[in-house]
Amino acid sequence: MIRAAHAAGPILRAHSELRRVAIRRQLQAVAAGKSTGVPSDAVESRYGAARTVEEITAGLREDSLPVQLLQVAFKNSLVADGVIERLQGKSIHERLGAARLVAALRMYEATPWLVPLLAAKDPSVADASARALGRIGGAASATALLHAIRRRGLNRRLIAELARGAPDLFLESALAHPPRPALRPALAIAAGLRRRRTAITPLLALLQRGSRKERVITCRALGWIGATTAVPVIEAALDDRDWKIRMSAAKALGALRAGSSRPALERLYTDPNPKVRRAAHQAVRRLTHGA
């Protein structure tokens, strides 16, 4: 009995591998427009459909043909329903695989099922859910990510996905009227990562009136955006009493390649804080060499 089971193991593995390869080929055929059906067992995590779809859709926009063909095939074959059901599954692998698949397919319809997963105990499921919401985007996803940040604090994954998924003017209006003041630093980072010029004005307001932490983050965010209009305000922050603000302002001016700020940065060569001095040297080096 034990020997029989032992012998069946490799056969099952081989069978599983064959099926995985078959599903992979089928999904590639769908993306290429050569087929329209998706097998019903494609949702099973052991067949790696999520990985295959991720590979096919990597770097593609949601309106690209392969993504759209896959979306339609999953919906018409009713496999999409199975994927969404699996988001509520008991096994971590099921939920993880389904979240990855939903993200790769940019399935808007899955948003309400993804939101509760942000609070999952397993960090990989919560991360996969955040990633999926970021890729799907839209106001609903961004609001859910913002709520998750409120619960979990400044989480890198959540902030990165908020930056990716937030619709136009979402971060800007949230920065101006945040649901909770504690969210401002996260919003400022997300606005910086998103690099939209519409965020410059609310960030400048935050730089002038925000708390120490907010001002440190806002300087960097303005640097990432490339807000050259903010140079005078950031330059003024070089004289701040707080060393972190001075360091952040120096880094931002380096990122902005603000040549006019060179004398102000050189003044920081004698700053009492070594980190500020180092940031000033690096910034001037960036101005000189554009590194």
């Binding site: 808007y108 839209g138 106001a139 619709p167 136009d168 003017l169 979402f170 939209r196 519409t198």
Partner: protein, 399 residues
């Protein structure tokens, strides 16, 4: 919810949708308030949201270095951002809130989620419409640069931030100097509100004005507008902005843009007397000008106002080489010296008009333009220099 629904119902793009669909859209729509002057979308950036204007006005600006041109002013019920949202194209133009605005934002995901299930084919229809609007905007964008492409009129704005600086006098004499070289091809558009008196100062009696063309339909607009222009015997032409102070409100940014589009095809130079106050119409005109002349007098308050105005002009994107500062000496011994003025303005004075006695006042009483009647006067000399500078910078056609 009710107000959002009614805003969606007003949008022509959703006329054919069922009420249940509109309700579902209204539930997902975000209300965004944008203060006046703020940027809503930036040209060239990606976008994923259609914005409906619930309240306020927005200015659509196409930035074509070295300048920027306002191609449309959108009001309640209008929408923008559709091409970026539905066709995944970069934003075609920047949009700024002209007044405090309340916008309704419908993001791509919400639109797809609601419409995919309820209105089959709606997304395709919206994409088709967005494509049409994209191309019509592209045409407008080309028209915006017609001045350069088809050798249309150069628009010169004359702005004096303080009353009594002689802005109108400089405008009138500049028009005279330009008209001596190009008779019948130079127009003075007087937007010095609330009292536009250029025509009277030139000895002309106006019977119509720009404000009175506001309600004229598109088809006869050109004819009505051109018939409101007064012809001076010396060559220049004058179009008063308003004949009565209360008519000034009729001169909206849309009217100014519409009028300039017509006038640019007819004239070689359009000099606009922008007066003292910066209104929405003035702002729209700053976008349409190829050159701005700032007139100041050597008095403390005037110099301070001019320094502030220069900052504003720079913020509005006026390139330094398209900006000329004229120092008009209205007294024999000015209280502030020219170097002091330059220090305060942080730039050189380009043209200085020496004290001209009571000649400008006398010319106004006589209804004469000094640059046409007395070329040896200081005002005429200054205007000649200014005209030569403008022709040097903006001459395109060889006659």
């Amino acid at each position: 919810m009710v107000s959002r629904l009614s805003a969606l119902e007003r949008a022509p793009v959703f006329f054919s949708f069922q009420e249940s669909t509109l309700r579902a859209l209204a539930r997902r729509i975000r209300r965004v308030t944008v203060p006046a002057g703020e940027m809503v979308v930036y040209q060239g950036e990606p976008g994923d949201t259609i914005f409906f204007i619930e309240r306020g006005r927005c200015r659509v600006v196409i930035e074509k270095p070295p300048g920027a041109v306002t191609v449309a002013v959108l009001a309640e019920g209008d929408f923008f951002g559709d091409a970026a949202c539905l066709l995944n194209r970069p934003q075609q133009a920047s949009v700024y809130a002209q007044t405090d605005c309340s916008l309704l934002a419908l993001d791509r995901q919400s639109a797809h989620t609601v419409l995919a299930g309820r209105e089959p084919g709606a997304i395709e229809e919206l994409q088709k419409l967005a494509d049409q609007r994209f191309h019509s905007f592209a045409d407008t964008s080309v028209q915006a640069t017609w001045g350069m492409l088809l050798e249309e009129a150069t628009v010169v704005g004359v702005y004096s931030p303080k009353g009594g600086s002689g802005g109108t006098c400089v405008s009138l004499n500049l028009v005279g100097a330009l008209a001596r070289r190009h008779p019948g091809e130079v127009l003075l558009l007087d937007l010095d509100f609330p009292y536009s008196h250029s025509a009277l100062l030139a000895g002309l009696v106006p019977s119509s004005c720009l404000a009175r063309t506001a309600s004229v339909p598109q088809e006869p607009f050109e004819e009505v507008l051109l018939s409101a222009i007064l012809v001076h015997s010396g060559g220049p032409m004058i179009l008063p902005g308003a004949l009565r102070p209360e008519e000034a409100d009729e001169v909206t940014p849309e009217l100014v843009t519409r009028a300039i589009a017509v006038l640019r095809k007819t004239f070689r130079y359009i000099v606009v007397d922008l007066g003292v106050t910066i209104t929405d119409a003035t702002l729209a005109l700053f976008d349409l000008t190829q050159h701005v002349v700032l007139v100041t007098v050597p008095e403390l308050s005037s110099v301070k106002s001019s320094a502030d105005a220069l900052d504003i002009l720079v913020q509005l994107g006026t390139p330094p080489d398209r900006l000329t500062v004229v120092l008009n000496n209205r007294t024999e011994r000015p209280a502030v010296s020219k170097p002091a003025v330059e220090r305060a303005l942080k730039r050189e004075v380009d043209i200085e008009i020496a004290f001209d006695g009571n000649r400008p006042e006398q010319a106004a009483v006589d209804g004469q333009i000094l640059s046409l009647t007395n070329p040896r006067s200081e005002m005429a000399r200054g205007s000649e220099t200014l005209a030569a500078l403008l022709i040097g910078k903006h001459s395109r056609r060889v006659t």
